[in-house]
Symmetry: C2
Subunit: 82 residues, 2 copies
């Protein structure tokens, strides 16, 4: 069994309104030392598979077909043996 | 300058409809080896501060006041010197 951690972020130049609003709200609450805020999504999957490489390929395919929008998202995949 | 990575997840027993739907969709696409899918949110902050401990305390306060809902969320904070 493998655990796959997929971190999904936004490509450079794509606006991140959630991050911008978080930053604004933190400033309103008085946290003025915060200079930047970015939000990401992660998806943690539990997958059956023969080996790390095979699992990574599958997850790569899932990212392209469902988990991310390749026009605006970047993603990082980490596979951990369980 | 410090980078704070806050990973926000759901407490045990709190339902994760986004994860459940992701799992269902992956199965519909034929990825039957996936046994579990969980979604999390991360917030990456860039913060000015004197030392790691001070920054961590600030981020802890931000989590409690804005970033998370302590009734349903768990969070992990990682501080990295930049």
């Amino acid at each position: 069994m493998y655990e796959a951690k997929v971190k999904i972020g936004l490509k450079k130049g794509v606006s991140d309104p959630e991050g911008a609003n978080t930053l604004k709200a933190l400033h309103l609450l008085g946290f003025n030392t915060v200079k930047e805020a970015k939000t990401n999504r992660t998806v943690d999957l539990l997958i059956d598979g023969k080996n790390k490489n095979e699992v990574k390929k599958k997850v790569e395919e899932m990212c392209q077909r469902l988990l991310t929008n390749p026009v605006i998202h970047t993603y990082e995949i980490k596979i951990i043996r369980k």
